[in-house]
Symmetry: C2
Subunit: 201 residues, 2 copies
DNA sequence: ACCTGAACACCGTTCAAGT
DNA sequence: ACCTGAACACCGTTCAAGT
């Protein structure tokens, strides 16, 4: 036993994260466990702790990769520089499309909570901030007369709102009400909010 | 051993739910386990399955009690029949106040996901629908010229939005952006959305 | 009928031991 | 240095056995 060295540390990290992503894609965050991950990659459970501090560390790193894919999708949605009134809607649609197509990965980002006291690494926070800047940029183009604090507050309100629509949209618990698609509810939120926010002075 | 009969079935259910609520209030849903619950009430783990189908059933029943308290708080917030423009804000403030003061219980309602295929009992869905009706009533008073479908869509959009603000407000993951309180972000969402929605025609 | 407690199949984490 | 596998303290669930 011991010393097989079939993979470098970085390779081991990569295939472990890949296995974790496969498990989450198939069964959600509940379907993930340290033992299932190592089973998939032909290692035993102890070896996981050579590469990750603990299972939360693995999940956080997986979630950072999800944020990277989400950011790429958002950036692509406005790559052709549409008019700002369309751009902000394109961002929302891209966010919803991501949540719809990579539901389990998207959910894992928000479902996972670190043990009390622990905090998310800086790299994670930066990826979130980067996404917000995308929204702020488009809001600034849309309402150049608004100050940066107004823009930042609106970005947060709108983005939280779209996020809430997605969260509750996936939750049967709230399906009770009406038969609208996530897009319709998000559209209502955007239309009415922007109708207020874009009003000159 | 066996047959102690210190409590009726209903009493056992009640003290088990109370113990579960204490555990969740103190440590969140993560701090809850079947063994911890029975330890608190002087029973052994098997006895829990006399009263609950499984641990998910216990959590769902606990969450229903949380929804009852939330509904009571929302109803109280508009008990003195304020003008509709204030009432909708009073509902939002009450929701936020509940999330702020009973954070772990409020989070548990949305964090908990039933195993794939299982669905929430009707009683649970009814409690959610009841809350929505409260919002719809106030929106109807505010905008009597709007049709019932417009009202229902707006209720869903607004409520999802406020919910999203609370969810992301509690999540350090998103603290990255700005230093606004949940109330401020929710206020921005309400002000701008209603500014659009209340516009005649 | 009520309740126990052992059993089973899991889980995250650690670490002495092997190569 | 790398990796194993046993050990520990948990977990949800079941069920024969006791009163």
């Amino acid at each position: 036993m011991g010393r097989r060295n079939a993979h470098t540390r970085e390779e081991l990290r990569e295939i472990a994260l890949q296995a974790a992503e496969d498990l989450v894609a198939a069964h959600g965050l509940t379907g993930l466990s340290a033992r299932k991950v190592v089973n998939r990659i032909g290692y035993t459970v102890g070896s996981l702790y050579m590469v990750f501090n603990n299972i939360d560390d693995l999940i956080v790193q997986m979630n950072e990769r999800t944020l990277d894919r989400l950011y790429a999708m958002l950036a692509a949605a406005i790559a052709d520089r549409p008019p700002a009134a369309l751009a902000i809607r394109a961002l929302a649609q891209a966010y919803i499309a991501f949540a719809l197509t990579q539901t389990h990965h998207w959910l894992a980002v928000y479902q996972h909570r670190l043990p009390k006291g622990e905090t998310v690494p800086d790299s994670f926070a930066e990826k979130v901030a980067r996404m917000f800047e995308l929204v702020q940029q488009q809001l600034t183009l849309l309402c150049p007369w608004r100050g940066p604090e107004e823009i930042a507050l609106a970005a947060r309100a709108l983005w939280s709102g779209i996020h809430g629509v997605c969260i509750l949209g996936f939750d049967q618990k709230l399906e009770a009400v009406g038969g609208w698609s996530i897009q319709e509810v998000a559209g209502s939120l955007l239309d009415n909010y922007l109708s207020g926010f874009t009003q000159q002075q």
